[in-house]
């Protein structure tokens, strides 16, 4: 009794498999008669969507200053620890990266650094063509990463919102009241 049941099941399975094969090959068969879409890379290059994740850049704010304040969040979030930097203080009190290094030999282009960046400084671009023969050439320093534009969001300016005395005196930033006079007890 049991053997008969097993036989029936096997035949059913075989039939299912054949059905799937036929379905799959039918797609191949149909495409034999279509026009091919091979791109002649690198002679022809397709422009990738803005959000595709390739080479990393450090952008500038509308004032032309480096956006990066070397807060270490990108290096903290980086799953492969390929970002290292050293923060420092500029003459005007602005915090900036003294040096900033990304090891693209390690980078997996996951985009978490861009997500973590509070000042929109670090961004991924659609450019993916950066293979090198020598791994040391994949060590990008700050001067290699820094660009002259604002990348995806050209208007954002972190120091206009932060409320620290860098781009102007206290109370001159967005959404701030003028400084309190602690010497006065008048309401």
């Amino acid at each position: 009794m049991g053997e008969v049941m097993e036989k029936k099941g096997a035949i059913k399975e075989l039939w299912k498999g054949l059905q799937a094969l036929a379905w799959g090959f039918s797609t191949t068969f149909i495409h034999l008669f279509k026009k091919p879409v091979t791109e002649q890379y690198p002679e022809q290059k397709r422009s990738l969507p803005h959000r595709s994740r390739g080479r990393i850049i450090l952008t500038r704010d509308p004032d032309g200053q480096e956006r990066c304040v070397a807060c270490y969040l990108c290096s903290a979030v980086c799953p492969v620890s390929c970002i290292s930097m050293q923060s420092a203080q500029r003459q005007d009190g602005r915090r900036y990266a003294l040096w900033f290094r990304i090891n693209f030999a390690r980078c997996i282009f996951c985009g978490l650094c861009e997500e973590a960046c509070p000042t929109l400084a670090i961004q991924l671009t659609p450019d993916f063509e950066m293979t090198r023969r020598n791994p040391m050439d994949l060590l990008y320093e700050k001067e290699d990463l820094l660009v002259e534009h604002g990348g995806k969001d050209k208007e954002y300016n972190y120091y206009r919102l932060a409320g620290v005395q860098v781009t102007g005196p206290k109370g001159s930033h967005q959404g701030e009241k003028p400084p309190v006079d602690p010497m006065s007890n008048m309401p």
Binding site: L98, V164, P179
Partner: protein, 804 residues
């Protein structure tokens, strides 16, 4: 002992315990911003609200303001409490700026943690934010008032706990401002604790500003070796550079805080000219080469001139392992030493004090004392954390009396008996109730009567004494008085303040024939010595014999220096071997009360990346060698040197050395790090009677000269730190205003003190509360010790002249 139930778990706590502490004992952390175990409750931040379901009080209350009472049932997770705390967090963040990325507190910010924990992520309030102007608070503390959430911790610490008044609170309501009335450096030598204590980024560390996030740092518990107290610290290092020191928590010693000398004196380990490679005659070479050369030369000298022609010198800033290895080295090769003391007098004092070691008390016991005598000691200058402990005793209603000729300043009210150094012993005898005292009958308006009464009233007396003013049998008088108090009250004790971080360790390993540097200097000048091995010591730093030593060095055949400082003596050395500092090796220290403490290695060490930048970028090379990381601990270098001389010291690694030391020194056998050593026995058991040359007869108008310590500028290690040097006030000298007026001098004059063998120049300051027949000069690193010979004990008015 009330029984209280928190989140369904019951606990019995001591009466008077706050609910927040009871929860902590159960391991339940109630959110808080203003409560601090050392400062107590303020109820300012409203974040520790919990629901009281049953018991004497009901409803939503602050757990830091409510004492645990019998029958209380508390829920920290009650929906009402959660909702309330969430709301409070949102209010607190209403005015908080959007600057975490550029704030150094980010990464170890309590406010950040609480905000994230409360689930607050969007500012719903559409209004503008309050702003404040910041102040310049000196070289240590950075001020950024916008971030303030008005928890009052800073003011509570600064004014109530540490007792300084120059920083406090101004304004009112939501405009309260925490800062100084006038911008300027914070006066408290404990100001750095504001950085640790502030739950937000209002006070951040200036020297390490914008350098690292805490999660990037290598952190380890360590010890502060800038004075003898042995406070616990936490060290933050990154890229082979020590960036910041935070206070460690040690309930027996320093509690939660440390002083600024300990917090900012660490920078000597990052010194750009720190020795990193062995040098032979100024040429960098490998360890093998340096060891072979030095070992060969030493062996030659010993064979040629006998073993006593070589001497080994150490100091009380070296670890117990290095000191022990020094001793083993001396015994193995029969060379002279180890010389561990600058002054023989200091060694004698410490030995004499050791006779009363059963009386020694910890800093915590000082805080709990109700009557404290401070004798021959200026706590703020010599061991700042003691001043903080004394203040805590005073806040609990204790009485503090200071017997000292100097113009001692302390951050609380104390009674000051100004006694000339030569009369200190007599004064102590009088306090111990000895008959026939010259002070009998001499009593300035009942002043001494009040002292005798205070001593009679006290139930837990403690006596803190220094070693700087030891004349005649001063230490003996100290011990006698401490014994007398112990006999009278049945408790109490002695709190000695010594000069080196490891003074007790040094006295315990030095033999009965040990002596100070004067004897060494004389031996050099007599031409008996041909070779010197100096381990973690610099006799040229603020030693009156500097010029004579330098001269004597010319006649030596070999000077071998093992150190982690770019010390003066290493410039004269024929061989320099780079050592590991305290932060690069695990080591033991014995603090002033005989507590054995261990410092763990923080990082491997080596040249910091910040000192190796190529065009602002770190080097692009890689390898297994750490640049400049080839250093040895002092004991390790000594063992290797001994092997190069053909004799093994009997150990090769740290556990091995510690085993050898335990076998060699009985007092170390049963002790674990953190415990007190109860029977420090100097070798030979020979007790030193402290007999000092008596004071010369003085003429009319003669002043006794005292060379004293200062908070910043006299301690060797911190004088190599770029940070603490910013707080130095140059070399100062002090006179009583009347004495100064008689000499035609006034406050702020630059004064030269000249005598037969030399001269010293210092800025004059007058102090009302010092002895009139006294000239006090700070033994400052900026004094020209090359020009100074042995300072005279007595100065005549003609020897002081005004320069400007």
């Amino acid at each position: 002992m009330p029984q209280i139930v928190i989140d369904g778990r019951s606990i019995e706590v001591a009466s008077g315990t706050k609910v927040i502490e009871a929860a902590q004992q159960l391991g339940i952390y109630i959110p808080r911003l203003c409560y601090h175990p050392a400062l107590g409750s303020a109820g300012a931040c409203r974040l520790c609200a919990v629901s009281f379901l049953e018991g004497p009080v009901r409803g939503l209350l602050m757990s830091c303001m409510v004492e645990a009472k019998e029958g209380m049932v508390v829920s920290t997770q009650h929906p009402d409490a959660l909702q309330f705390r969430k709301q409070i967090m949102e209010w607190l963040m209403m005015n908080h700026p959007h600057d975490c990325p550029v704030c150094d507190e980010g990464g170890h910010c309590v406010l950040q943690e609480m905000t994230v924990a409360g689930g607050h992520s969007m500012r719903r309030f559409p209004g503008s934010k309050r702003t404040y102007e910041d102040q310049d608070l000196g070289p240590f503390v950075q001020h950024e008032m916008n971030r303030c959430i008005h928890c009052w911790r800073c003011r509570r610490f600064y004014q109530e706990y540490s007792g300084y008044k120059d920083m406090g609170v101004m304004g009112l309501a939501s405009r309260t401002y925490f800062g100084r009335a006038v911008p300027g450096p914070l006066e408290s030598p404990f100001a750095g604790n504001l950085i640790d204590i502030c739950p937000t980024g209002v006070f951040t560390d200036k020297p390490s500003r914008f350098k690292a996030r805490r999660w990037e740092c290598q952190r380890a518990p360590s010890l502060c070796i800038h004075c003898c107290l042995g406070c616990s610290i936490v060290v933050n290092s990154r890229y082979r550079e020590v960036l910041r020191i935070e206070a460690g928590h040690n309930p027996e010693v320093n509690g939660h805080f440390i002083c600024d000398r300990g917090r900012y004196g660490f920078d000597y380990v990052n010194h750009p000219s720190r020795p990193r490679w062995p040098l032979v005659e100024g040429r960098a070479c490998s360890w093998q080469e340096a060891l072979a050369y030095a070992g060969g030369r030493l062996r030659e000298i010993i064979e040629k001139h006998g073993p006593s022609s070589a001497a080994v010198v150490g100091s009380s800033r070296a670890s117990l392992e290095s000191l022990g290895a020094l001793r083993l080295f001396c015994e193995k090769h029969a060379v002279s030493g180890p010389f561990l003391w600058m002054e023989t007098q200091e060694l004698k004092c410490v030995r004499r004090l050791l006779q009363g070691q059963e009386l020694f008390v910890s800093m915590k016991q000082v805080e709990e004392a109700d009557t404290i005598l401070v004798v021959g000691l200026d706590p703020v200058q010599e061991a700042p954390m003691l001043a903080l402990a004394l203040r805590q005793a005073w806040r609990k209603g204790g009485w503090v009396g200071v017997v000292d000729p100097r113009g001692v300043e302390l951050p609380f009210c104390f009674s000051h008996w100004v006694v000339h150094p030569r009369e200190m012993g007599m004064a102590l005898e009088y306090l111990a109730g000895k008959p026939k005292s010259p002070y009998e009958g001499f009593d300035d308006q009942g002043f001494l009567k009040a002292w005798r009464q205070a001593l009679a009233r006290g139930k837990r007396p403690v006596m803190a004494c220094g070693t700087l003013l030891a004349k005649a049998d001063f230490m003996g008088a100290c011990l006698e008085l401490a014994h007398f108090l112990r006999k009278e009250k049945g408790c109490g004790g002695l709190f000695p303040v010594l000069r080196g971080a490891n003074s007790l360790g040094a006295v315990a390993v030095s033999g009965s024939e040990a002596s100070g540097l004067e004897e060494l200097l004389e031996a050099i000048e007599r031409g008996e010595l041909k070779a010197l091995v100096l381990v973690e010591t610099d006799p040229l730093f603020s030693f009156w014999g500097k010029a004579r030593l330098k001269e004597g060095f010319k006649g030596l055949e070999l000077i071998l220096v093992m150190d982690y400082l770019p010390s003066g003596v290493s410039k004269q050395a024929s061989v320099v071997m780079p050592c590991k500092s305290l932060f690069e090796s695990s080591c033991l220290f014995v603090n002033n009360e005989g507590r054995l403490q261990e410092a763990t290695a923080v990082h491997h060490g080596g040249i910091p990346i910040s000192q190796m930048l190529e065009e602002a970028n770190p080097p692009r090379t890689f390898g297994t060698e750490i640049p400049g990381g080839g250093t040895c601990a002092g004991w390790e270098a000594l063992a290797k040197l001994s092997e190069a001389m053909g004799e093994s010291l009997g150990f090769s690694d740290l556990p091995g050395l510690r085993n050898v030391l335990r076998q060699r020194f009985g007092w170390l056998r049963e002790v674990r790090p953190g415990q007190r050593i109860l029977a420090l026995e100097p070798e030979g058991g020979k007790r030193w009677e402290e007999i000092f040359h008596s004071q010369k007869e003085e003429g009319q108008g003669a002043l006794s000269l005292l060379l004293v310590q200062a908070t910043f500028g006299t301690e060797e290690l911190s004088s190599y730190s770029r940070h603490s040097c910013k707080m130095e006030a140059g070399p100062m000298g002090f006179l009583h205003p009347e004495t100064a007026a008689c000499l035609g001098l006034k406050q702020g004059d630059l004064v030269r003190l000249g005598w037969e063998q030399g001269e010293l120049e210092f800025l004059l300051e007058t102090k009302e509360n010092m002895h009139k027949e006294l000239l006090v000069v700070q033994a400052h690193r900026l004094l020209d010790w090359d020009k100074a010979g042995r300072p005279p004990e007595v100065v005549n008015s003609g020897q002081l002249e005004k320069i400007i």
